[in-house]
Symmetry: none
Subunit: 214 residues, 4 copies
DNA sequence: AATGAATGAGTCTTCATTCAT
DNA sequence: CATGAATGAAGACTCATTCAT
């Protein structure tokens, strides 16, 4: 019987120790993958950083690609869900609310980890097409839905006049990427101070209002 | 410490044959780098595809990184300079001109080669920080300047009212990336038909006018 | 920057098999290094002769230089410590004792392995300066100390009159290298028969006595 | 006709330019071979240092081994012939003359170039056995003959009593290698001041006189 | 004669993966 | 389950030598 069992993607472990070790591996792998990318990160490095043996890696994950995918999903889920709750800040003033939403989005998306996840998806788009789905699912999609719901509400309330609400949400999100996020992704020198972020956020809010205010 | 001669970056060759072979190498390297990225592309593959011996590569380029950089600069220069001449299409109608400019930008930027170059910059931002400069210099910077000049002209002519012209150009370019370009970069399924492009382009032009028309 | 684990210099292995393989590698490496020198010996050759895979070499030694150093130290320690016990042969006659000591030294130093170690030190003196220290520590230093102690005793006993005992020991050792050892090191044709050795040994003893007898 | 002519070892050139270039190559090759040894020196390096093309090397020398041999013979001839004229300094006092001869020998033999040539012979004794002959012929043999002639004269004059004159010459030369030369060859730290040299030289002269003075 | 691009065998080293303990 | 030694394919790069120009 040469067939090998496929170890589950880790989580559903019974023993607590096993689960700990699994998390430890994912944590270390993540650190390295985010810093160096997939190809430049070796299983030895991961094992070393995680403080486990190289063989142990293969007790928990089928192979390098599997570990990579597992890391990416776990990080996308735990990290990007902060984006979900953007918007909806109970601000009396729509202009202010929009500005705050934009600022929040910018701040979240220039976080080194978010930048790293984006980079990984782009870098490995050919080899690991599923990453984009994961990123979209946990990151973009939720944000867009959140924004769309919010805009729909304002539309219903007469504060905004929007024909294509989904497109508007996408526009809003895209405009947030002006200047700062875009350059961060390219590692170009850029002013990421709160002032700078507020500047872009204000511009986004103003432009959005001019586009969709009644 | 071994002393190696530094072969010039290739171009200034006297013999015609040498120049041809150099281009051949760059061409093949480009194809592979764009498809697979830096790490996954081996010098052997490049030599094989270019039809030369592995050793020959090192007569023209110091090492893999050097060849990579040379490829990237050459492609950035020759490919992205098409972006330079965007805009300025002599259209009587500003709305139409903006729409066409947006459509042109979108079309150029979802070209597989442009997408590939972008991916490479993002993927190798840590290892090769200069790539971003090159991309910005040959690609983004020229486009922004072109747009800014154009907008300044229209501002002087009273057709637009813009306080920060550079920011406006950046906004225009950013908005063009809504939906299509963004998803292309992630290899997500996306409708890239002319219709779809025109849709986004129209949205960009309309929004821009609402933001900056007098 | 790749992180590699530093495998211990081999010895402190727990498993018996690992230790065996390590010795096997050192043994094969030694054979080749002694025959061909450092540069001409390839890791492939070593792996082949040791009957292990090329990769295995790197589980036990960091790199070629490390393996080389390990080999040299091990051989110096195990081989050259025979020199330590030279002299002190309980001979009633000092002349005879000196002659025997000289003969022993000559015999030990024209052993192919001793010649090989000397050649390696000289050949790699620039690249591996530590080898000389190792050789001196395990080989020369002990012999000199042994001789000096012996001479000091004889000096105290009135059989020799020596002002600088350390220099005298060094002289004795140097004189032993007349003709035979010197030519062996250069691979020049030379008579290494017992007769020939005894001839030089006798000359050394006679000369030494004429220099230092009261 | 695929047969290639064997270019003569260089010297007998008619054109002056050719001879110059040949010397230039030998000079550069020597510098590198002496510093790095045979294996570590590449034809590219030599060509680069000599300021000629790689191909030119093969117009003057059949291959690397040939160039190496040519270098070694030329250097041995031109450099080591200084040893020839040792001794015979017209000193009234034999003790002083011996001391001076010893000091001269030591000084000449710790010259970096002499050390380098010795190292090369020892390092390449297996691969290039002829080097030792060359070294012996141009270096050792002449010195020994010179010393032997001198000693024979003194023997005839009654100042020395020597049974085996050749052996005596060899002893003298060997004793000169005590301490300083020996350690220089191993790149061990050693005092090479004039004082230190004089000290060993004095010891050699004294010892020699005690051995052979009437 | 001189050049320098071309070659391809060979170098050291890394890596993902397996398996006996 | 955990370990870590073993593997062999593959990586980037070097080098002596040749040959068309």
């Amino acid at each position: 019987m040469t067939q090998t069992e496929h170890p589950a993607p880790c989580p559903p472990r019974n023993s607590k120790a096993a689960s700990r070790k699994c998390e430890q591996i994912l944590q270390s792998a993540g650190q390295l993958f985010l810093q160096q990318g997939y190809e430049r990160t070796s299983m030895s490095q991961i094992a070393h950083l995680a403080g486990v043996s190289k063989g142990s890696l293969y007790n928990h994950f089928e192979n390098k690609a599997d570990l990579f995918t597992a890391f990416f999903e776990e990080r996308s889920r735990t990290r990007l869900n902060t984006l979900k709750s953007v918007s909806r800040a109970p601000q009396p003033d729509l202009r202010t609310a929009l500005r705050q939403a934009a600022a929040t989005i910018i701040t979240l998306m220039i976080d080194p980890e978010a930048i790293g996840l984006y980079r990984i998806v782009v870098a490995e788009a050919n080899e690991f097409p599923n990453l984009a789905d994961t990123l979209w699912h946990y990151g973009v999609s939720r944000t867009l839905t959140g924004l769309a719901d919010w805009f729909a509400e304002k539309h219903a309330g007469g504060q905004l006049v929007i024909s294509d609400i989904d497109l508007a949400a996408e526009q809003f999100l895209t405009m947030c990427q002006t200047r700062i996020i875009h350059r961060c992704r390219l590692s170009l020198p850029v002013d990421t101070s709160q002032n700078s972020i507020d500047g872009v956020a204000t511009m986004v809010a103003e432009s959005f209002l001019r586009m969709y205010a009644p």
